[in-house]
């Protein structure tokens, strides 16, 4: 961007915007007096936990609030012109032309029964009145502009034939076709894998520069904000609580909520021994329960005073360009903050993986799924059978009492590994021993004593509990089934477990629909620990939770693990969480463990090239940190037909480190190279070369 004498007016100026919905509780205000500006070629990040009204603001700008929503007051000035009160027809001309939007789930946002080309071209045809062929040509150009491989062909395909990353590129191309002045992006990368996310974020940054477009970027991920935003607006419970340039915000968060959010996020490169996660207590109030005439954050605020509870603070500018909605903004010193006693913090001490013996021993484990062939012959049981090699030769030893994290992109086989261990899938080959017993059979044929020792915590809080039973019944069931305690003590034991997961005994009679996501997850944990298992598998237990809840659940897990001395296998795609939570980390790619080692070892050179790429893709919640920019090309290959030799060779950015430019990778399976006794890398590149790599992340 070139500098100017005369500053141009902001593209979008939102003032005192309030939006309400008609619900069964009456008219409920979802967004209350929000003000912000978006300038040309800048990105405004709209951050906050779910339910804070971010998306409502986005749809409010386009006045697309559905039949029961309406703008109560406020003004939205787009390029100096008021949008509130415009007719549907006038808005229609703006939508898709001057103001466009990119959505969270690209698959849902694209019409499944129209080709990509039709959906792209019609934007031009409608807004530009140009012939079809011309529109088609320009659409292809735009697809190429967003680095879509094989654009002319993509135009003829249907959405489901593209991968998630490609779909998101299509949606972005669609949004940019008319060279809009304002682009609203609603969590555009949340559904994507971390490596794809990184590529999409790069693309967004580049497009912002080239098109002079003002961007509103809605996200809950502070790392993403730090990476691509220029300005940040923090929303809480429908109100804007803080607004600042990105570096300023991260350096000096003024509002207690912003400060709290930052304390919830695990920082990459810091272990659990070094850092703590401090969850914000309580939860975001539902729109109908929000207090008027008080600070909306007061019930959860550590600094709240009588004034906060009786008077509503206004958004006021504390420093240049930095505003906060807090009476005490600027007076509060975040570094002097002390956790209140209401938050439970686990005591964490470092542990080594020795001396206690092995809980789980996996040797060359393979789990294949049969894939029905597409030929007519398969009807008669003929035809070649194909196998999805979900787990393809994994060896892993889990010592007692420690946590092993498993990371990798989706489709790398980490969930299948968990299912195989727990007994929901049968291994195709290999050794699977738990406490010295063979468990390579489905769970139904395992001894009940072994089942009891091996439990699991699940990802999705909404489906982790059976909606038909109360909390108590669900926790009691494993107690009854495994006869952990005598029948008459079951109730007491359930109450004890509820205490252990910091839930009030009154929760005993509640139904899952009455619980929040974090509470459900707590019940899930209580249920998993009810049988006092030796090993607990955690399959992405926090990835569906908001950051503050995530912090609380992570703390809880750490605490319970310490108290029970449980061994854990922690599966996640978020490297910072894994780093925070695990003692050892296994990096998986296409059914193989490509690197294994202690958490510290994984996050410092030597890296496996894949680990390196993963690390460089992780969004870091620190705008000042620098990160190597390594981007993987293409998609994860199909596990039906994995690449020969090293499975990673098709995407490996480091093959040129080898003398023969990586020919050997295509042919030979890479050797396990041991860096230390407990750290190995599966790569053809010699360790010396790998050690020469620079750390991916350097914090200033």
């Amino acid at each position: 961007m070139q500098t100017r004498f005369h500053p141009l007016p902001p593209i979008l100026k939102v003032e005192n915007l309030s939006i309400s919905y008609a619900t069964r509780y009456g008219e409920v205000e979802a967004v209350r007096q929000v003000s912000f500006e978006v300038n040309r070629a800048t990105t405004l990040g709209l951050v906050g936990e779910s339910g804070c009204g971010k998306t409502t603001v986005a749809f409010g700008i386009l006045d697309f609030l559905g039949p029961n929503g309406r703008i109560v007051e406020g003004s939205i000035k787009f390029q100096g012109r008021e949008l509130v009160g415009r007719s549907e027809k006038e808005l229609r001309i703006l939508r898709g032309d001057q103001i466009t939007m990119v959505y969270q789930d690209p698959m849902q946002a694209l019409n499944p029964s129209l080709t990509i080309g039709e959906q792209l071209a019609e934007v031009l045809i409608v807004h530009r009145n140009i012939p079809h062929a011309e529109a088609w040509r320009r659409s292809i150009e735009m697809l190429e502009r967003v680095y879509m491989p094989d654009a002319p062909n993509v135009m003829k395909r249907y959405p489901h034939q593209l991968s998630g990353g490609q779909q998101q590129r299509v949606v972005i191309a669609m949004a940019l076709l008319n060279n809009p002045a304002l682009l609203i992006m609603d969590e555009p990368t949340t559904a994507l894998d971390v490596t794809v996310e990184a590529a999409v974020l790069d693309l967004i940054a580049e497009l912002k520069r080239d098109f002079d477009t003002g961007i509103i970027y809605i996200t809950h991920n502070l790392g993403v904000v730090a990476r691509i935003c220029d300005q940040v607006a923090v929303m809480y419970a429908g109100e804007l609580v803080e607004r600042a340039p990105v570096k300023e915000l991260f350096a000096h968060p003024l509002h207690p909520y912003t400060q709290g959010l930052m304390r919830c996020v695990p920082k990459l490169g810091i272990t659990k021994e070094e850092s703590r996660l401090y969850p914000i207590r309580g939860r975001v109030p539902a729109p109908q329960d929000r207090p008027w005439g008080a600070c909306i954050f007061a019930p959860r605020c550590d600094y709240a005073t009588e004034r906060c509870r009786n008077e509503r603070p206004m958004l006021r500018e504390i420093a240049l360009g930095h505003s906060a909605r807090c009476f005490y903004a600027g007076e509060i010193d975040p570094s002097a903050w002390q956790p209140s006693k209401e938050i439970d913090l686990p005591v964490v001490e470092p542990r080594a993986a020795s001396g206690y013996g092995t809980v789980l021993e996996i040797e060359n484990l393979k789990t294949y799924y049969e894939q029905p062939s597409r030929s007519v012959l398969s009807l008669f049981g003929l035809g070649k059978k194909q196998h999805v090699k979900a787990v393809d030769g994994v060896s892993l030893r889990v010592p007692r009492g420690i946590t092993v994290g498993v990371v990798g992109e989706s489709g790398c086989g980490k969930s299948t590994l968990a299912k195989t261990i727990i007994g929901l899938e049968s291994p195709t080959a290999g050794v699977l021993e738990f406490l010295g017993f063979d468990i390579s059979m489905p769970v139904t044929r395992r001894d009940v004593k072994l089942i009891q020792e091996l439990q699991m915590v699940f990802q999705n809080p909404d489906s982790t509990m059976n909606p038909a039973y109360t909390v108590g019944q669900q926790i009691a069931r494993p107690l009854q089934r495994f006869k952990t305690v005598p029948p008459h003590q079951v109730y007491d034991e359930v109450i004890r477990l509820l205490h252990a997961v910091r839930l009030d005994p009154s929760y005993y009679d509640r139904f899952p629909s009455q619980l929040s996501g974090g509470e459900k997850q707590r019940v899930g944990i209580a249920r998993a620990f009810a049988s006092r298992p030796e090993l607990v598998l955690c399959d992405e237990p926090v990835s569906a939770l908001d950051v503050s809840v995530q912090a609380a659940v992570l703390n809880l897990l750490l605490d319970i693990q310490r108290r029970y001395g449980t061994t854990m296998l922690f599966i996640a795609h978020d490297l910072s969480v894994v780093r925070f939570f695990s003692d050892f980390v296994a990096v998986m790619y296409l059914g193989h463990i490509v690197e294994f080692g202690s958490a510290e070892a994984i996050y410092a050179p030597p890296y496996h090239p894949y680990t390196e790429a993963l690390l460089s893709a992780v969004p870091i919640p620190d705008p000042c940190a620098t990160q190597k920019r390594i981007r993987l090309e293409g998609n994860v290959p199909s596990a039906l037909n994995p690449p020969s030799g090293c499975v990673f060779h098709t995407r490996c950015p480091r093959r040129n480190l080898l003398l023969d430019q990586g020919k050997v990778c295509e042919v030979e399976t890479p050797p396990q190279r041991y860096n230390t006794e407990q750290h190995y890398i599966l790569c053809h590149i010699p360790l010396e070369e790998l050690r020469k790599m620079e750390p991916v992340i350097t914090t200033l």
Binding site: Q2, Q79, I130, D212
Partner: protein
Amino acid sequence: MFVGDYMTRHPLTVTPDTSIVEVQGIMAENNIRHVPVVEKGKRLVGLVTRQNLRISPIELSSLNVWEITRLLSGLKVKDVMVRGKDVITATPDTPIEEAARILVTHRIGCLPVLEEGIVVGIITESDLLTQLTNLLGLQVPGWRATIRVPDRAGEFAKITAAVASRGWGIDAAGSLPTPRKPGYWDVVIKISAATRDELVAVLQQIEGQELIDIRATGP
């Protein structure tokens, strides 16, 4: 240095049916003087400037205050704008000096920039003047030196060679024939990596050239 790089993208536009009262408001609020008029598909149909909106008092003098109000509220952009065929436009690949020439020769204040008939931007006098300041390095802090050189091939190379030999870089440069002194050109360079004394020492040593002025400029 083409118009496409320096124009203002996403210019504010109005439609032919916008009332002039509203246009006036928009201009005042955003502090602009030119608004392209577009119809469906962002196709240019005209241009409104502040001049167009000015109504001569003579025209109004015969009317009473109610009639004026009614007249004004009824007036639409299409009644006052410069019609499409009369609007002079540029394309994104027009060189900026060409754009400046057009502005000067036609004595106008702005050029809507069209790409395939669609308004993609607008370039105004002030945009061009901004670029003049950039051209001469006003936007970077450093030393602005004016050197008078004879109108001969290789003179500019002497300057760059001298600067490059010290490992400095030229942040901006420009040259014009010296006014009222034929056979000479004034070269302006902007250097930020050196101190004033170092720079003076180097520039003064160049044979056949004269350091006329050196001063610190910056934003």
